[in-house]
């Protein structure tokens, strides 16, 4: 059985197929092609929601995204809040309910897929109504690369809502032919259900395609549900149509009150009668089409209430023939009813004054206050708007390069005009791009339309209800009224932007599609200034709401942020490593044995490296190949110490500063040849240091004959660390004399392993005897295995970054970016020895001579030993000192600095820390205090090197 308000025939719905859905717990039926709104209306249901602050009943007030009333929550197939019943396409199994203003986010992850696609075109046409189709055809026929996007489920725009004819046939036949022609053009992308929601710089337009929403549970899982199209268009034609504008009157939010054009859409597109007895209230001719069509479909049109003194003389005869009462010079002043309008209050209206009224019974009150061109995308592209006195609307006020507005969006409101304007817009775009329009770009003939009677611009009907505008709703979603605007103005606000923020008008889900221009008009009226001077609030993307899931696209889970891994990653995983994020790198932090926590594992790993042998995957270290006759000159200018004096075969530690003299990176440098160095940087500094080198070479010293190339991933770096490291390395690489005499500390040697080149370097970041093994990552697994095998008799122990940190901190080796913060000089780190006094200049040198850098109270890197030999001071803790009397100074307590690194030491058998402390080196031997969990932990200030300060082990 057909629902009571479904017409017997017609509409764009598939009547042969029934779909079942549940709304507010009630099982109902509709058809494919319905929206949730049209299906509800077919069952006679207008009221779907209650308002957010006042709790007033709200119904379906429009037929698409401009609806301010019909907010619903979808529960099945997946919870989604704040959707409009008018834009939810009906499918089998839909479960939804009306909303009291706010929805509910799903509490389970959304398993649907979302993605994004980049697309480049010559011409992007937004809107597949008459103007947009004409524009797309014109551009396609010229051979241009075209995209046509339209937010509806099918092309046609306003033609879907009426009975217009083109070339003496139903206009939709032309639409079908146009769509077919576009489908046959290989360079045309035509997307329906796709909303261009943002227009940005350089022809960049974002559009959301709802690919499978309308399929419900039948949506294929491997296809994205929604897709963000990132369209780069050389030219954009905006043919987005116009939104009908209501007139504000008392109790204008009562369900059953609807825009006149929407009723026509429900009738023709969805085969739904939105009521049995209608009153039509208008200020212009367009609503007459609705009145006449509804009347023909069997709706009793009680009256057409036309605010214009003469009404529409042209349409009077048609109304009389249809038996429709015409009330010119009249307005609707209010409504009656409980959850649905039962009466419209109608009164004479002349010269702005409202006379004595009477009630007309109706279950449908249709309103038209004129049309607002949908200028959103134009305005987002920073196009200025101008107010049109005749239309009572804002129109594009200037031409923009690369963006043309056409059709109703440009204020052209007749069919023939829209077709011609669409073609004009496309031709203008093509010409600007140097593309010749096709000789034959014929458009269909639209019947001659008579000149309509001029509309009356009427924002609101004076409130005669006694409510003083407090039930005259401007923004239904925000429950904001004429009284609220008056209050804003009474509070002294003049700017429309301020009125918006005071009243919250236009800040809801619909972003003021129906309320924005009304607010400008009413504000101007109350201020007694021209509407042009009030202007509009700023149009910002998105045009309609876009789910965060769609914006995130595929950048979720594993693809959220790239994980960089070394060539040994699989080995680390298999070995049960616990990983640490170091930038985008995944590095083993420690390798726990069964039952071990991190502290236990790290103590074991540290002990192995200090007493036996450990091995680390240090491949993430940044590596830069610096090559050319002037390579040494470049490094001398960028490092604080001398690199040109480094001998081939040797290694030197170096510090790099910014022009301000602050340390930006450190590392070791291998001289490979007279004209070639391998520069090692910190893991985090790899890209930064290469960029730094390139910046100086390219912008300041282009005369230097030097080239810098990243080789970070060209070499794995495997430090073999500890007193037994010599045995292990010597066993794996018998071709190298690994003795201290033949291969001293801070030198490197090349060798090979079964023909594969290998480089060994005596570099130590642990203070122990150590050899770093460099090899092409293709052979990383093989070499790592060889080292482990050779180390097995010595108990070789793989260790992670945590142990690496403990070992280096025990030696006082700072980590740039952890123990420094951009305000630390080499001198502050106790590295005056690494600052050349011989070089006439290097980056940062001049800044060292600034008086601030000679201040003895600068923060300096020192060691801290908690006196209780127990507390691991939290990194980041503040350091304070007691007064001579053993008391804390009165608040605010001066801060001396902070703890930068802190660990438990196996070697020292106690916790220790590094800290930046004001005048720190002068304080060595003193006791400072560190607040930890509300108690002050005393700590002795020491030098920063706590293990083997003489370096005997390292050099051994």
């Amino acid at each position: 059985m057909s629902p009571p308000f479904r017409t017997a025939s017609g509409g764009r719905i598939d009547r042969a197929t029934a779909v079942e859905f549940i709304f507010d717990g009630q099982t109902l039926t509709g058809h494919p092609g319905d929206t949730l709104a049209s299906a509800l209306l077919a069952h006679g249901r207008h009221q779907v929601a209650t308002s957010i602050t006042l709790g007033r009943s709200r119904g379906i007030a429009a037929a698409w995204a401009e609806d301010p009333g019909g907010l619903v929550q979808v529960e099945e197939p997946f919870p989604e809040p704040m959707l409009l019943a008018t834009t939810v396409e009906l499918f089998d199994g839909l479960v939804a309910h009306g909303l009291p203003g706010q929805g509910r986010l799903a509490d389970v992850p959304d398993s649907a897929r979302y993605d994004a696609v980049h697309h480049h075109v010559d011409v992007l046409v937004v809107g597949a109504g008459p103007a947009g189709l004409a524009a797309a055809l014109t551009a396609a026929r010229a051979g241009a690369r075209v995209a046509l996007v339209d937010e509806q489920s099918e092309a046609g725009g306003s033609l879907l809502s009426g009975t217009e004819r083109l070339d003496d046939a139903p206009a939709l036949e032309w639409v079908a032919a146009a769509v077919a022609e576009l489908a046959g053009s290989p360079e045309v992308l035509h997307l329906q259900r796709t909303t261009a929601f943002g227009s940005y710089d350089d022809g960049f337009v974002l559009a959301l395609e709802r690919r499978t929403d309308h399929l419900g549970a039948a949506a294929p899982r491997h296809v994205s549900r929604q897709r963000v199209w990132r369209i780069r268009a050389r030219s954009v034609v905006v043919a987005t149509g116009a939104h009908e504008r209501p007139v504000v009157f008392a109790d204008n939010d009562r369900p059953g009150t609807m825009l006149a054009g929407a009723a026509r859409t429900f009738l023709h597109r969805y085969g739904v009668l939105p009521g049995r007895a209608a009153v039509v209230f208008t200020t212009n001719d367009s609503a007459y089409d609705t009145a006449l069509d509804l009347s023909r479909a069997g709706v009793h049109v009680q009256a057409v209430v036309d605010a214009r003194p003469e009404g529409s003389p042209r349409r009077r005869e048609e109304c009389e023939a249809a038996g429709i009462r015409l009330l010119p010079g009249a307005v609707v002043t209010g409504t009656q009813g409980v959850e649905r309008v039962t009466h419209a209050l109608v009164a004479p209206f002349a010269d702005g004054a409202v006379g004595a009224g009477s009630a007309i019974a109706c279950d449908l009150l249709l309103v038209s206050g004129g049309w607002n061109p949908a200028v959103h995308l134009y305005s987002q592209a920073r196009g200025r708007l101008r107010y049109d006195e005749v239309l009572g609307a804002f129109l594009p006020g200037e031409r923009l390069d690369g963006l043309t507005v056409a059709g109703s969006a440009a204020g052209v409101l007749d069919l023939a005009g829209c077709l011609a304007d669409g073609r004009r817009g496309a031709r203008a775009a093509l010409t600007a791009l140097g593309i010749t329009p096709a000789a034959d770009d014929r458009l269909p003939a639209a019947p001659e339309s008579a000149v309509p009677t001029a509309p009356l611009v009427l924002w609101r009907v004076p409130d005669t209800s006694g409510a003083d505008g407090s039930t005259s709703f401007v923004d239904l979603q925000r429950d904001a009224t004429v009284a609220d605007i008056a209050r804003a103005i009474g509070a002294g606000l003049r700017s429309i932007e301020h009125v918006k923020r005071y009243t919250t008008i236009g800040t809801a889900h619909d972003q003021g599609k129906t309320s924005g221009v009304l607010t400008s008009g009413i504000t101007a009226e109350l201020l007694g200034i021209p509407v042009q001077d009030t202007g509009t609030t700023t149009f910002r993307p998105p045009y309609t709401p876009v789910a965060f899931a769609a914006l995130a696209g595929r950048d979720r889970g594993r693809l959220f942020d790239p994980e960089r891994v070394t060539a040994l990653h699989e080995w680390h995983v298999a070995a049960g490593a616990v990983f640490e994020d170091v930038g985008q790198w995944k590095r083993p932090r420690y390798y726990p044995r069964p039952g071990e926590d991190m502290a236990a594992a790290v103590l074991r790993e540290c002990a192995a490296a200090r007493t036996g042998v450990g091995i680390l995957d240090g491949s993430t270290l940044g590596k830069i190949d610096v090559q050319g006759p002037d390579a040494a000159v470049l490094l001398d200018r960028l490092y604080t110490n001398m690199m040109s004096s480094l001998k081939v075969g040797s290694v030197r530690y170096g510090v790099m500063c910014g022009v301000d003299g602050m340390v930006i990176d450190d590392g070791t440098v291998l001289r490979l040849a007279e004209d070639r160095f391998l520069v090692l940087t910190t893991t985090g500094g790899a890209a930064k240091v290469l960029d730094w080198m390139e910046e100086w070479v390219q912008t300041e010293w282009p005369d230097l004959r030097v080239h810098c190339t990243s080789v970070t991933e060209q070499w794995v770096t495997l430090p073999v660390v500890g007193p037994r490291s010599r045995d292990v390395v010597g066993a794996v690489f018998p071709g190298v004399d690994v003795s201290a005499e033949a291969f001293p500390f801070m030198t490197w040697r090349d060798t090979s392993l079964e023909g594969v080149p290998v480089r060994l370097a005596r570099i130590s970041f642990s203070g122990e005897l150590a050899y770093e093994v460099y090899v092409n990552p293709w052979y990383a697994v093989a070499v790592w295995q060889r080292l482990l095998e050779a180390g097995r008799p010595h108990g070789i122990t793989p260790y992670g970054t945590e142990t690496m940190h403990v070992l280096r901190a025990e030696k006082g080796y700072p980590i740039i970016g952890q123990d420094t913060d951009g305000t630390v000089t080499p001198h502050d780190l106790g590295m005056a020895w690494a600052v050349s006094k011989k070089k006439p200049d290097f980056i940062g040198k001049r800044s060292f001579a600034r008086p601030a850098n000679a201040d003895p109270l600068r923060k300096q890197l020192v060691g801290l030993l908690p006196v209780d030999r127990e507390t691991v001071l939290p990194e980041g803790s503040q350091v304070v000192e007691f007064l001579a009397d053993g008391e804390l100074p009165p608040p605010p307590v001066p801060m001396l600095g902070h703890v930068t690194s802190s660990y438990r030491s196996a070697e020292l058998a106690r916790p220790f820390a590094l800290a930046l402390v004001r005048g720190g080196r002068e304080r060595i031997g003193e006791t400072v205090h560190v607040p930890v969990d509300g108690t002050l932990v005393p700590a002795e200030v020491t030098g920063s090197v706590l293990v083997d300060p003489e370096g005997a082990r390292r050099d051994g």
Partner: protein, 103 residues
Amino acid sequence: MQLIACPWCGPREEVEFHYGGQAHVPYPDSPAELSDEEWALYVFFRDNTKGRFAERWNHTTGCRRWFNAIRDTTTYRFESVYRLDDPKPPVTELARSRRSTAP
């Protein structure tokens, strides 16, 4: 998402580039001879231009080349890009607006 025209690779999305601050601020010939104030001017002070501004960009995810650009800081529009060995173009004529004549 703006496009920036790399002088070599052509127009690319802005995310492929890094900003390098004001252009044509050369490293001083003899830093040691500068007063603290002169040195501080080089290290810390840059113009804060409203309007057309000569600045440096690096096509980091592309060809890694540094280049210069004249950009209008009020509209963000790039007026021109030029290579480091090109002379600085005159920054006098009026900014070319996206707007042309009113209809």
